[in-house]
Symmetry: C2
Subunit: 457 residues, 2 copies
């Protein structure tokens, strides 16, 4: 029995739960322009690559072992592995793997990684109910619009308070996407969002542990189940997002309701999705980008290089200033290792953060030639790079917008190469090539059976 505690202030919110549900249930298929459609394919392919790439990580193995206690029925693929599990468990496992390398997509305005919760739920459900590629893309665009708009509404206070916003908004996005895939009507979709609103996942305290990637996984699972419950007539508050004791007001002190409604159905948040070119914290990206630009432009060999001088914002060194990393994970927090890898290999993907690479003598030798100094006049998303060669050349590059930023997005070719680097070591290049082609032509697939078949090693 509730006691009569004081209701919080805002009872005048617009009916955003219903508004979002109506949008998801009734928006026309491919109701957006070609650039949005293309971004959806890029988002899907990047997510799939990340999930397959981490398929054999110990976090996925541990989660799968726990799920096997439930003796799941083989309904859907665990991406990049031979095992099959029930659709809700597949959503969870693929959500975990897709975020394990911290290499997935980023909606920069909110720091949401939107595909993890949404695509993981969508693909697993689609496999079971026989959805077409067209329906999958529709569900992905609409689901991501829901989670990122909810994120816009409560960011940054919600994130600052300590919520891992990918998981907390992801449950809503996954519920919306699955509701769309199940063809729920507006009333049922309202219930799906309502059920999902009670199940936010994710505290930022978990960063650095396996529970961080569990957040999108658990959100994918809970969102899918919310839609399946709503399909069966399970009820929830129709104002679960906006009510005084609903999601937005319980989990944040900021609620900008306009972020839900402004240009709804005209502006799509997936348009603002970005993809990491490098498998490390985003503040190192401009420096890696800068050294690779100079390396390629001047065809530099390691022996050419006398020293490398980086100038960066103080935050960059605070987060990633590790001088002598011993493991791959530590390497991700070392601007020195990251730039050495970029100079030596021309890339800084997951491969370049293996323990063996971090400790390889030629990598260490190059790393020790790199210095970084703080210059707070440089934006934290920028870098100033100077390479001094033994022959006396001073090569300089100022990176204002690193590759992978909204202003300088990865090209499709670069995304393809990233996909290859993640996927081919797990399932082989032949399957990887076929899978890539299927991703780019997802809209034409009558169902996902061919695509799913290619994800298995």
């Amino acid at each position: 029995m509730a006691t009569n505690t004081t209701v919080q202030a805002r009872t005048d919110a617009p009916s955003v739960t219903h508004i979002l549900a109506s949008f998801v249930a009734t928006h026309p298929t491919k109701g957006w322009d070609d650039s949005v459609e293309h971004e959806a394919l890029r988002t899907f392919m990047n997510w799939l690559g990340c999930a397959i790439g981490a398929a054999n990580h110990e976090s996925v193995a541990a989660a799968l072992a726990a799920i096997n206690t439930l003796e799941p029925t083989a309904q859907a693929a665990v991406l990049g592995r031979s095992e099959r599990v029930d659709i809700a468990s597949a959503a969870m496992l693929n959500g975990i793997s897709s975020h394990t390398f911290d290499f997935d997509d980023t909606h920069l305005k909110t720091i949401i990684h939107p595909a993890g919760p949404v695509a993981s739920a969508v693909l697993a459900l689609a496999e079971k109910i026989g959805s077409s590629g067209r329906e999958i893309i529709d569900a992905l665009v609409l689901g991501i619009d829901v989670s990122c708009r909810v994120g816009n509404m409560v960011y940054p206070e919600h994130y600052d308070r300590g919520w891992h916003i990918t998981g907390s908004t992801g449950t809503l996005g996954a519920a919306a996407a699955c509701a769309r895939l199940l063809k729920l009507d507006t009333a049922q979709t309202t219930m799906a969002l309502g059920i999902a609103a009670s199940q936010p996942v994710g505290l930022r305290e978990q960063f650095g542990t396996m529970t961080k990637p569990l957040h999108p996984g658990a959100a994918a699972r809970a969102g899918m189940m919310s839609a399946l419950l709503a399909q069966q007539g399970f009820t929830a508050s129709a104002k679960a997002i906006e009510a005084p004791r609903g999601f937005a007001q319980v989990l944040s002190t900021k609620q900008d309701w306009n972020e839900i409604t402004d240009e709804l159905g005209e502006r799509f948040e997936i348009s603002f999705n970005t993809y990491k070119p490098f498998a490390c914290g985003i503040v190192i990206h401009p420096s890696i980008d800068g050294v690779i630009r100079l390396r390629n432009q001047h065809q530099l060999q390691p022996d050419d290089i006398a020293r490398v001088e980086l100038k960066v914002h103080g935050l960059v060194l605070e987060l990633t200033g590790k001088l002598t990393p011993q493991t791959g994970l530590e390497g991700k927090f070392s601007i020195y290792h990251s730039c050495a890898a970029g100079l030596l290999f021309g890339s800084a993907g997951e491969t370049e953060y293996a323990d063996g690479i971090v400790n390889r003598p030629d990598v260490v030798a190059l790393r020790e030639k790199i210095t970084a100094t703080i210059d707070n006049s440089i934006h934290e998303a920028a870098s100033d790079v100077t390479i001094i060669c033994h022959d006396g050349r001073q090569l300089h590059e100022r990176v204002e917008h690193a590759i992978g930023s909204l202003e300088n997005p990865m090209s499709d070719e670069q995304l393809n190469a990233k996909f290859d680097g993640l996927v081919n070591p797990v399932i082989g290049s032949e399957k990887g090539e076929a899978l890539k082609a299927l991703c780019w032509h997802l809209a034409a697939q009558p169902n996902v059976s061919e695509l799913i078949g290619r994800t298995c090693p």
Copy 2:
């Protein structure tokens, strides 16, 4: 990548995650006195009765239909039904049914309904791994201690903010209980609590919908999975409850760490558990108790009664002042119907809140003889009852502590009668009697197979 937002203030918290984990993993079996042990049996039986009683409710049917989409393996019982599902789904379904009638146990200090999340996870897991009755009781006592101590730590701010505290703390309680049942060590149990901390369930906005009972169900499920994940080596923050971006500081502005540590292992929160004698809001209980006392003491018949005058705190009428309820659910918010039922039947269980009873002419006639006036000098947990008979008698009863309160707990006989009223209509009185006996002798059961067999209609 996390941005460098300001960390919240309190970094000096004691290591409560580890402290609770160590307690759960190492506390000796039956390491408490007989009164605690007896309360555990009462808690278990009351929970089981509530779950079986609501087994055929539409909320359970809808949730089961959704779960059947996953084609679950038959590992554990859905209480009061013939279906069997995987253990995590069983935890969820039994958590839903046990809270559906709002008739389950209450830890009054926090308004937590502790058994729903904890017992639902424990019994389902116990069925699979063959735990003894002794192990089940240990897990129940320790799990409830964790959820209620966490509740004490953050109540009331956490609840006032809008969290349904049963679900938000329940995930931790269920994780602790399952960790105990799985015999996890302190390090693993710390991880189980850490994983669970990222999955709080439940917004108060859902009150009045099926999602309210979903909260303990989803908490039971998430808690069980947290323990299973930890068993497989899945990692989380070892400070997930107390860290600046952990559970207590993200979900509440109040953190009384002493509530975790004070008399830990000496005082057990299950000692303060209470059970509802009447299937309605707790503020009506003193009035129902009063009319039943007078009815029984004076062997009153409906025709004897000219009128009934209640004096109650204003809050009571605010919450339950519905004059002319039309449905059973509305009857639960009517002090008039509730007292009429008490006078006529001597009880106000789920049966007396059927639609047919609420609209029965003799019930309505009696209801119309009842008036209630506000007297704010009377405590909201008390009532002043006067019955004026046609023969001129004025019968008076002042109820300071209603039956079911901590000061005036239901007797074992009364709990037995409540169990009968809930269970016998679903599984029959023969099985109900056997089940009751097994509950009282739970500690002696080598496993739960006999008990589970009796829960099936």
